[in-house]
C-alpha cells in the first residue's frame, strides 16, 4: 500500500514539475544556477575519485593477470571497459546521489518546514515546477559531462600509474584502450547517466517536498533521498543493462 501511495504521489509531483513555467526567464536563471551548484561544484571530487579509481583498477587488473599467456594490452582493455561500462556511469551517479541528492532534499525540505513552499503556492507560483524542474534539467545537462570527464581522467590515470608502477607500458596500454572499441558502449553509458540524473534529482526532490515536521525530519528526508536514489539506481542499472546489452 505504502509503495503505491509513494509511487503515485511521486509521479504526480514529477508531472506537476513539468507544467508550463510562469516565466521562462526565471526558470532559465535557476537552471544556470543549478548547473553551477550540481555540476561545476562537483568537478573536483569527481576528478579526484576518477583518478584514483583508474589507478586502482589498472594495478588490480595487472596483479590478477600476472601470467605470460595473457597479453599486456588486456590491462588497458579492462580498465577502459570497467570505467566506461560501470564505474563512470553508475558509481559516479551513486556518489552524486550522496552529494547532490542529500543537498536537494535538505534544501527543499527546509523550504517546506519554513512554509516557503506554502508561500510560493499562495502566490500562485507552481512550487513543484519552480523548485524541481530547474534541478532536473540542470542535472540532465551536466551529468553526461561529468561522466565523460571521469572516463578520460580514469583511463589517463591508469596509463600513468601502469607505467610508473611498471605493470604495463604506454604502448601496450594504448593498444588495450583501443582494442575492440564499440562506440555503442559509450552511448549506453550516457543513457544510463541520464536516467540516473533524473532519478537522483526527482527522488531527492520528492523526499524534500513532502517533508513534515522540523529539522529532524529534514535530516531524515535527506537520508531517505540518498538511500532511495541509490537503490533505484542499482535496480534500473540492471534493467537498462538487460535491455541494452543482452
Amino acid at each position: 500500500m505504502q509503495l503505491f501511495y509513494h509511487t503515485g504521489r511521486y509521479f504526480e509531483l514529477v508531472f506537476n514539475a513539468f507544467r508550463r513555467p510562469e516565466r521562462f526567464s526565471i526558470y532559465w536563471k535557476q537552471i544556470v544556477h543549478e548547473v553551477d551548484k550540481i555540476g561545476v561544484q562537483s568537478v573536483g571530487i569527481i576528478s579526484l575519485l576518477s583518478l584514483f579509481m583508474g589507478a586502482v583498477i589498472c594495478i588490480q587488473t595487472a596483479a590478477n593477470i600476472d601470467s605470460g599467456w595473457i597479453p599486456a594490452y588486456t590491462i588497458g582493455f579492462t580498465v577502459r571497459q570497467t570505467l566506461i561500462l560501470e564505474f563512470c556511469p553508475t558509481i559516479i551517479p551513486v556518489i552524486m546521489a550522496g552529494k547532490v541528492g542529500s543537498n536537494i532534499a535538505s534544501e527543499i525540505g527546509t523550504m517546506r518546514i519554513k512554509e516557503e513552499i506554502d508561500a510560493l503556492d499562495i502566490m500562485g507560483v507552481n512550487s513543484a515546477g519552480y523548485l524541481i524542474l530547474p534541478k532536473i534539467v540542470a542535472a540532465l545537462f551536466i551529468f553526461p559531462f561529468l561522466v565523460v570527464i571521469s572516463m578520460f581522467l580514469g583511463i589517463g590515470a591508469g596509463a600513468v600509474v601502469g607505467e610508473l608502477a611498471g605493470v604495463v607500458g604506454y604502448a601496450d596500454y594504448e593498444v588495450g584502450i583501443q582494442y575492440d572499441f564499440r562506440p555503442f558502449q559509450v552511448i549506453y553509458a550516457i543513457i544510463k547517466t541520464l536516467v540516473f540524473a533524473f532519478i537522483i534529482t526527482s527522488v531527492s526532490a520528492y523526499h524534500g517536498y513532502y517533508t513534515k515536521g522540523g529539522a529532524l525530519e529534514v535530516g531524515k528526508s535527506s537520508t531517505q533521498a540518498v538511500v532511495y536514489s541509490i537503490v533505484l539506481i542499482m535496480v534500473t542499472n540492471y534493467i537498462i543493462t538487460q535491455l541494452l546489452l543482452v
Binding site: I26, K114, E115, E116, M123
Partner: protein, 251 residues
C-alpha cells in the same frame, strides 16, 4: 469580502471543522481566534486552498473558489497576500529580491518599475535601509515587516496573517498590529488575522470569530468580546490573572 459557507473538513475520516460559516469584510481586520488545536490554521489553509475542503463553499467577492480549476485559482491567488507565522522569506534572496519576487513572477512591469514598487513597499514598513540584507541578517520583527511588504507587493485584495505576533515582544507586536490595520484601511483590503493574542484582538480587531471545537462558536466586535457571557469565550479571553483583575475592576 470573503464568505465561508457550511464548511466541513476532515482528515482521513477524522473531523476537524464542521459547519463553519463566516464573513470577512473589506477594509476591516477580521480575526480568527481560538485555543491551540481548535482548527484555526486548518480553517485558514482551507480558505486559501492549501487544503481541499470536504464540503462547503468559499466565496471571494462572490466567486466560488472551491470548485475552481487550477488556472482560475491561480488568478485568485494573485489577489491574495499572506504573512506566515515564521515569515517564510526566501533565504537565498535579499530583502529587496524577496519583495520583488511576486512581481518578477507575475507582474508585467519593467525591472525599474518592479524595483520602485518593491522599494515603495519596503518604505511602507519602514525598512528601506535593509533592502540589501539577507533574511538571516535581520531580526524577527524586521522579517515580519518584510513579510508584510512582500504580501502587499502585488496590491492584494485579501491579506492573511497567521499569528503575526508569535515570537515578538509586546512593543514590536503593537508596531506590527498597527501596520496591519493601517494597510487594511489604506488599501481597503479584506484582512484575516489568525491569532491567540488577546492584546492584538483588543488593539485592532474589527470582527472577531472565535473558533472552538471545530466550528465558529461566537462572533462579534472587540467591544462585545470583553462583555461576553459566553462561557467558553470567557475562559479564553480571561485566561490570565491579569485580565481577570481588569475585568473585576471594570465591574
Amino acid at each position: 469580502m470573503i464568505e465561508v459557507k457550511d464548511l466541513f473538513k476532515s482528515f482521513n475520516g477524522q473531523q476537524v471543522l464542521h459547519e463553519v460559516n463566516a464573513t470577512f469584510d473589506p477594509g476591516k481586520v477580521n480575526f480568527i481566534i481560538g485555543r491551540s488545536g481548535s482548527g484555526k490554521s486548518v480553517l485558514t489553509k482551507c480558505i486559501v486552498g492549501l487544503f481541499e475542503v470536504s464540503s462547503g463553499s468559499i466565496l471571494y467577492d462572490g466567486r466560488e473558489f472551491t470548485s475552481m480549476n487550477r488556472g482560475e485559482r491561480k488568478a485568485i491567488r494573485q489577489e491574495i497576500g499572506m504573512l506566515f507565522q515564521g515569515s517564510a522569506l526566501f533565504d537565498s534572496l535579499t530583502v529587496l529580491e524577496n519583495v520583488m519576487f511576486p512581481l518578477t513572477m507575475f507582474g508585467n512591469m519593467s525591472k525599474e518599475e518592479m524595483k520602485e514598487r518593491a522599494n515603495f513597499c519596503l518604505k511602507r514598513v519602514q525598512l528601506e535601509a535593509a533592502h540589501n540584507k539577507f533574511p538571516s541578517e535581520i531580526s524577527g520583527g524586521m522579517q515580519k515587516r518584510v513579510g508584510i511588504a512582500r504580501a502587499i507587493a502585488m496590491r492584494p485584495k485579501y491579506l492573511f496573517c497567521d499569528e503575526p505576533n508569535s515570537g515578538l515582544d509586546p512593543q514590536t507586536s503593537i508596531i506590527i498590529d498597527n501596520l496591519i490595520r493601517e494597510i487594511t484601511v489604506e488599501y481597503d483590503i479584506t484582512t484575516v488575522v489568525v491569532s491567540h493574542d488577546m492584546n492584538s484582538v483588543i488593539e485592532i480587531g474589527d470582527n472577531i470569530n472565535f473558533v472552538n471545537k471545530g466550528t465558529i462558536w461566537w462572533k462579534g466586535t472587540r467591544n462585545d468580546i470583553l462583555k461576553t457571557e459566553n462561557q467558553e469565550l470567557n475562559d479564553f479571553v480571561y485566561a490570565s490573572e491579569f485580565l481577570k483583575q481588569i475585568r473585576h475592576n471594570l465591574g
